[in-house]
Amino acid sequence: MIYFVIRRLLFAVVLLFVVSFFTYVLFTALPTNPAALTCGKNCTPEVIARNEVRLGYDQPIHVQYGRFLKGIFAGRTYGPEGASVHCPAPALGYSFEYHECVTDLITRTFPVTLSVAIGAFVLWMGIGVGLGTLAALRRGRWQDRFATTFSVVGISLPTFFFALLAILVIVIWGGLLDFPQYTGFTENPIKWFSGLLLPWATLAILSASTYVRLTRNGILEVMNEEFVRLGLAKGVKRRTLIIKYVMRAAMVPIVTIAGLDFAALLGGAVITESVFNLPGMGKLSIRAVTDSDLPVLVATTLVAAVLIVVANAVVDILYGFLDPRVREKV
């Protein structure tokens, strides 16, 4: 087991290096020149050249990348002497768009995304697994038809459409909620909750639709397994059988997908954060793309990659708990 974990960790580190390097390389291939983005009509070739020096893009890509790696372990100082800004380790860069150290930006925006993700995750798993289970157990009845319809509608609605519709109907026309905005949990838990209700609902309804189907199909499939029929024949109570054996077996693939979905969400719910104006990692990433803000782009990509890698590891461990056969293999 220890060798397995070490092997996975080493692989994760290599993977993160590869991701960060390729993000750098891809960035240089973009047609946009970040050094020309802010100078407008002042953008003579001389001004752009000066800006390239200021932003550090005058150096070859491997030098830029080397400095980036060094900054992670040793910190970095940006700007000329007398007006310099120091970013302590782990320095993921300095954003000349935000005028802040990238690590500070990530630290500030991650709690927002985490808040969005946790609430949405709880909701969608609750709705998705609950409704999916109900649909499977009441197969062919109105509960099943309702769950299937919910699933089809949910999957068909684009996130931005549902989000805008929710704002229009619930906030603007209905006046039932204030316009969603992020307040820190420690600052005011009630405002935190009410401000995130609509974003949670938006993400949950859309994602729950997938989980309704997955859960329904998973349970129905397990219900047809021989061990279930054997249990029933031997007189095991239906409720015990479903909760203790069927659900446990059906949950294995769902946990896998849920773990990865949750990790992806932590990387930033781009559309939801944008429509509801939540200053999270999703918005940070999208602005980094539009502003050609390489340090932020690399950092958000890296953080998202770390989250996926960690989620994969967690899922593997959970697998072991849910399915003893996996434990034995490892």
């Binding site: 020309a36 009509k41 070739p45 000329p80 800004v85 768009e97 005028h99 603007i172 200053p279 918005k283």
Partner: protein
């Protein structure tokens, strides 16, 4: 003066797309709407919080030496950043009147306007209560040279005008010798009350130049370099309480601002909250609904095209909506080296289907056909130029008149090369690449085809647009311009004079260039403002007659405010509201 936000280049370049929409004069206009009751001061009660709704993720800049956007200059100038001179708090042309701000008057010129002197008022302070002195202004101006910090984002007039050492790198990395040289160019009196600018050339309106925030004071001991833009030190009636990009900027009253030292500003609000990163569709819906805090809200930006009909088609919005010029003139820059034939340039203008171009860009709300290069907002310098005979006022093409000009060009031996290039090789049409331009270029090609001119489409990646046309100009290029201050000296010289800054089209290749430049030089140093205005009008006519560029549109913008907002008049100088003057009703 550039338009707005982080993508200044991109925005202007795409704004220029509309540039090509135009040329000419004429009909189909919407007129201007001033905002009705919301533009008046009726019922203002001191106090309250103004909300600003914005799609952007943050302010373009708050650092005074990096701000070069009309709306930002007005907003920050009226709230946190005072300058030696500023503009009158008034609607209409009156709002372009220069008034003394930190200085006791609008400055004294001597030495053929190569030396300008200003004396600071008593009692002017920063937000920490420390006095504003000459050295603070000199230090602020010196930051313009520090491209390693400011990124050349702000206006660079200081670099052109002030007689600083050629190699001065800004205050952060200057040697003692370099700094001493700079301090000779901007001198401070011993008592710190008088500042003297020594200029390289005569600048008759330098007192307008110093109204730019780039000439505002910065306390050296509180300069945080690149991060100064996150929390500049206030000298105005408000100060920054907090600023988080992607979320909000909060300004509260500056208790160390002394009304007795400020004859211009009359703040009514307690607080200003600028909300960033909102969805544009949501902003419009909120403003139309006008509920809760949105009744005390204004919008940074404009109304979405799809909502214009709702807002301008219903009288219930008449006291909340504005429709006006944003100060820009869009135009098509013509390469005078390759299209060195006035007849061909005139033919292009006459044959261009400006009506179709404007319709594709959004119709009359996008602007009115320009009658020259000077915006009507420049008042003293503006006069409708006489346009070429046959140019249709409604923007539709006059192919017959255009063909007649082409025939003249064909018969003129001086036009032989240009004629051959236009009809055989083809004219390269540079523009910033955009979805809109994919439609516009088809109209260009079709229009020119009718008079035998071939158009070669050359879309350029927006962020590289200006750098590209500066280095390798095509034959026809989109462009747009707004005056930096209320004087056509910031329009005609930069657009048409070699080294003026934005003349990418080889005007100096024209045989009449020397005569033109002599007239411009004369106008630049003329200190009688009325006389100077007449000179700019004549020069504008001169340019239209020779079609050195093809005028496009006086571009317009539409906006809406909440029902409790008052004094939300368009501040002509900056193309947006005078936020510092805004008040709220109960």
């Amino acid at each position: 003066m550039r338009k707005r936000r982080a993508f200044a280049a991109l925005l202007v370049a795409s704004g220029l797309a509309i540039a090509a929409c135009g040329g000419g004069d004429g009909g189909g206009t919407t007129g201007e709407e001033s905002g009705g009751k919301s533009a008046s001061s009726d019922g203002i009660v001191d106090g309250g919080t103004l909300h600003i709704l914005d799609v952007s993720e943050g302010a373009t800049n708050l650092d005074p030496q990096r701000i070069y956007t009309g709306a930002d200059l007005g907003f920050l100038g009226s709230t946190i950043q005072r300058t030696l001179t500023s503009y009158k708090y008034a609607a209409g042309v009156e709002g372009s009147e220069l008034v003394a701000d930190l200085a006791t008057d609008t400055g004294t010129a001597s030495n053929d306007a190569k030396t300008w002197e200003f004396t600071l008022r008593d009692g002017v302070t920063f937000e920490d209560g420390s006095p504003i002195e000459c050295k603070d202004i000199r230090y602020g101006v010196s930051r313009t040279w520090a491209s390693d910090v400011t990124g050349d984002e702000g206006p660079l007039f200081a670099l052109s005008f002030i007689d600083a050492p050629e190699d001065y790198p800004g205050p952060f990395t200057a040697t003692e010798e370099q700094q001493a040289g700079f301090n000779e160019a901007i001198e401070c009196s011993e008592d710190g009350k008088t500042i003297t600018f020594n200029l390289r050339e005569s600048v008759g309106d330098f007192n307008f130049t110093v109204a730019l925030l780039a000439f505002g004071p910065v306390p050296e001991d509180q300069d945080t370099g690149d991060q100064y833009t996150l929390k500049p030190v206030s000298s105005g009636p408000f100060k920054i309480e907090s600023y988080e990009q992607g979320k909000e900027l909060v300004m509260v009253r500056n208790e160390n601002w002394n009304k007795d030292s400020d004859p211009i500003r009359e703040p009514h609000l307690d607080k200003i909250v600028w909300h960033f990163g909102l969805d544009e569709t949501v902003i419009d819906e909120r403003m139309i609904a006008d509920e809760g805090d949105d009744q005390a809200a204004i919008v940074y930006g404009g109304i979405q095209p799809q909502n214009l009909q709702t807002i301008f088609g219903d009288d219930k919005f008449k006291d909340r909506r504005t429709d006006g010029f944003d100060g820009f003139v869009s135009y098509t820059m013509v390469n005078m080296k390759t299209v060195n034939c006035a007849e061909i340039r005139r033919a292009i203008w006459l044959a261009l289907d400006r009506d179709a171009l404007r319709t594709a860009g959004g119709g009359p709300f996008t602007g009115e056909y320009a009658k020259g290069f000077i915006n009507p907002r420049l008042g003293a310098d503006y006069e409708e130029a006489d346009l070429p005979e046959g140019l249709n006022e409604d923007g539709t093409p006059n192919v017959e008149a255009a063909q007649a000009e082409m025939d003249k060009a064909k018969a003129n031996p001086d036009c032989a090369d240009a004629y051959k290039r236009a009809t055989e090789t083809g004219l390269t049409r540079d523009h910033a690449d955009s979805e809109l331009w994919q439609k516009l270029i088809a109209i260009w090609i079709d229009s020119m085809d009718k008079i035998g001119i071939k158009i070669i489409d050359n879309p350029i990646e927006p962020s590289k647009y200006y750098a590209t046309i500066n280095e390798t100009p095509g034959d026809l290029m989109s462009a747009g311009w707004a005056a930096d201050w209320n004087n056509a000296s910031t329009v005609i010289p930069p657009l048409f004079i070699k080294d003026g800054g934005f003349a990418y089209n080889y005007t100096w290749e024209d045989p009449e260039y020397d005569a033109f430049k002599a007239l411009v030089d004369e106008a630049k140093v003329e200190t009688d403002r009325e006389k100077q205005g007449d000179m700019w009008k004549e020069l504008n006519q001169w340019l239209v007659d020779r079609v050195w560029n093809i005028p496009g549109l006086y571009t317009k913008t539409q906006n809406i405010v909440g029902s409790r907002v008052r004094n939300a008049y368009q501040w002509y100088q900056f193309g947006w509201y005078n936020v510092g003057a805004i008040g709220l009703t109960e």
